[in-house]
Symmetry: C2
Subunit: 537 residues, 2 copies
Amino acid sequence: MVTYTEISPSEFFYRNRDLAGFTNPARALYMAVRELVENSLDATELAGSLPEIYVRIIPESNANDSPDPRAYRLSVSDNGPGVEPNQVPSAFGKVFYGSKYILRQSRGMFGLGGTMTILYGQITTNKPVRITTSQDGKTKYSFEMLIDIAENKPVVLRRDSSDAGGQTGTRVDLTLEGDYLRASQKITDYFRQTALVASYANLTFVDPQGQITFFERATTSMPVAPKETLPHPYGIDVEAFKRIVKSSEEDNLEDFMVKHFHRVGERIASKFLAFAGIDGSLSPNRLSNQQVVSIVDALQRYPDFLQPDASCLSPVGEEILQVGINKELQPEFSTVVARPPSSYSGFPFLVEVGLAYGAKTLQPGMKLFRFANRIPLLYDESSDVSFKLLNEEIDWKRYHVPQDAPVAIITHIASTKIPYKTVGKEYIADRPEIERELRNAIREALRRLSIYLSRKGNMEAVQRKMNIYGKYLPLIARFATDLAGHKRTPHYRKLIGEEGGEVEVVAEGIEEAPNPEPGSEGQQVIGIEQSKIEDYR
Amino acid sequence: MVTYTEISPSEFFYRNRDLAGFTNPARALYMAVRELVENSLDATELAGSLPEIYVRIIPESNANDSPDPRAYRLSVSDNGPGVEPNQVPSAFGKVFYGSKYILRQSRGMFGLGGTMTILYGQITTNKPVRITTSQDGKTKYSFEMLIDIAENKPVVLRRDSSDAGGQTGTRVDLTLEGDYLRASQKITDYFRQTALVASYANLTFVDPQGQITFFERATTSMPVAPKETLPHPYGIDVEAFKRIVKSSEEDNLEDFMVKHFHRVGERIASKFLAFAGIDGSLSPNRLSNQQVVSIVDALQRYPDFLQPDASCLSPVGEEILQVGINKELQPEFSTVVARPPSSYSGFPFLVEVGLAYGAKTLQPGMKLFRFANRIPLLYDESSDVSFKLLNEEIDWKRYHVPQDAPVAIITHIASTKIPYKTVGKEYIADRPEIERELRNAIREALRRLSIYLSRKGNMEAVQRKMNIYGKYLPLIARFATDLAGHKRTPHYRKLIGEEGGEVEVVAEGIEEAPNPEPGSEGQQVIGIEQSKIEDYR
């Protein structure tokens, strides 16, 4: 006997929380911190405020001797624009309800994280969540609520308001089962790496022992907030096309194309419609099914649409990334390569790659830091496109980087849609277009490192020569003085630079640096050599 | 300005089809075949019928010159019990509606695959799906339908019925964009590996060139159909507990525990309630929130619950797996190790491992075939728990298996809930309990291979000796005959086994085989040496 049942979206993720990354108490605690912090960062940045995020984890009971996993109280608050009070219950208590279902770059991608966190807290501890928010800084509204999982709807237990004291923003307080002992490393890594790309944010973290870690803002320049964008014609399927038609009011296809698609002007619209063999004066609402299918088919094939415009993307920015790398890693050499925007399946994206060499904070060997829309990705590294490239495709020998050199590679992908392969946002699918951009950026960064190392190697060779001169020159000088019958040795110290004399070093080794590989086009270069070669003596 | 929207489950998966494995036209075609075949296998097996599955992929248009990706027509039919006609629209046209949301081992896990396949076909080609089904073999019902994605509901375009001609079962016909060129290898692998574990099924595959591949049934013994089971106490959270209470009628906790939990009898129920400090005569419906939380808390901590019963699981079975391995790989040596059932987070599971050595179909080196609930897993191998174990944890040297030996390892995990990390069912999370069972099974299989190889090595040494004896014995015999003054040489040929005389080979080398590693307990052994060592001559 087969029985059919319908389950709600809440129920689906309740049953399959592994899918959203809530696999075990350690991972769940990490995910909870991450999802709430990312919502806060998205909110503050969208409003253009310099983020002030405060995170605290404290044990639920005072009994300090109860071992992990156990119940923790997690609080995350921000100085964002707040949430409209009427939206609070659904925005936090309903799966598939949210503000992220539009084409705009954001850390959140599935509109699930906040609600999943609350759901997880509820099913493991059965405590309600409390959300406090103020939009105007005058009144703050507070909601205590649970989620009715079977119905996928919020159940508000208590709602009240009080004086906000001039402070806007949102605060979430919830109780969840966690394993801080096993999660602490990942949580620390998460904050450190978030500080690396969001160097304009103040992040405060209070751990269960009461220890406070403060990641201080290193710059007040913020990335431009991402903008919502129209869909690019390459990304449109029949379903999407029909929906746009349904919501449209234009009475001819040409206007319709111009109004609803990204970077389609009149000229392109009319050329495209000719290509598709469809009369541009037809009304979109009167298209036959067959006509829709052939337009959509032509959308994929038309070669002359413009690339998506990058202005809807919000990269970290070379300067901010450089500041972040120098602050968090303190390397001997670092560089940032930003690629021009590109697209896959109609979604714009761009790639930024940072490289740090000789950082005191790094072990020998290559370390990869992965970011997507400014989120650090900490799990399942070996399935990620960046890992694959660095370990299987890049020919490191070409760049004369010693195998155990302490190198960090930072990859960042910004897009209106990151092709994650899991709801838990652990790693990125290897779309060929993204792979290509990453490859070019990594090669360029390595080329710069190679030049630096080669120059440094020459410096060191010169230094070694100087050392030898330094050892024998006094003897030669005395010998020559004696031979000449003089009393006073000449001023030879100037020659070995011991008295402030400059020795010009010819960087002959630059030829050793490899040429750019095919496909790596010109970029703007920002390369800072933090510690210059010391004086030779 | 922040706008909030609610999206339907269909919409969610429509937007995020990467999550369900429908990443590109090649992968999507593979996923479509797989999801429909797996639904068919689940249905036939549950009804206890020997599966007859027919799959056909043909290009939608006759123009043979149109390149991939292009539209294909996919048909999958089975001889299963059919679907109740009234359920057809929802079962196939509504996300989160299905028959798999119960605790029973099945290939399907998320109740999503069939609907996702239909959704994908619809959004890429805008053609309706046709589902034809008969439960009684007399009447068959046919439905042509589309999915209303925004509303997550089926839209039936046509429904009719006709004579079924004595044949029960279900057939799905749909059109989808696919890339057969790039998918064909995976699809072939999929059928071959499915035939390996489902050696009791007839599988027919007609490819776009019209070529027919028939995987013939090799045994008529079928695994026992999996049974639905009660939840094990270890897997219960507050939410689950409350739901069970809601649906229960018992007026005291002791009866309640016995009735609703897996392997909880009266004795265990009363002991547990004492452990939890709760009066067993309380009515479940009158428990306070605090009492529920402390019962659930105690459920996780109580040490004396029985392990889940394996009778709800349906392993492949040693015999069927052995038959499958021999049929598909034709190895020189093969063995199957079945571990006793175990559990993780309250879900029962068991592990079966097959090993094939010296198969003509294998390249040198180790090849891994992964299965979960009888599904072959073909993507993202390197993230899987089996891969991790074989490549990072098992000490192959210990088993004297040469590095380039042609070895295949087949791992199968059966469970009421497979801990997949993606909706696309690509790989399994490394839960410690599953890892342990796999490790033990793999070690045991390798130990057997090691014994076989050592025995074979000895045989070969004996054979080499025999060859030398065979060369010199005639001379020695003649010399000895001459010395003794005899005319006729003795009957020495018997000694080198050339005339049917048996030479007993002492398998002294067996000591070389390693002892079982700690933790690998006794199992039943099925080891078949397919090709005996040839006569020595």
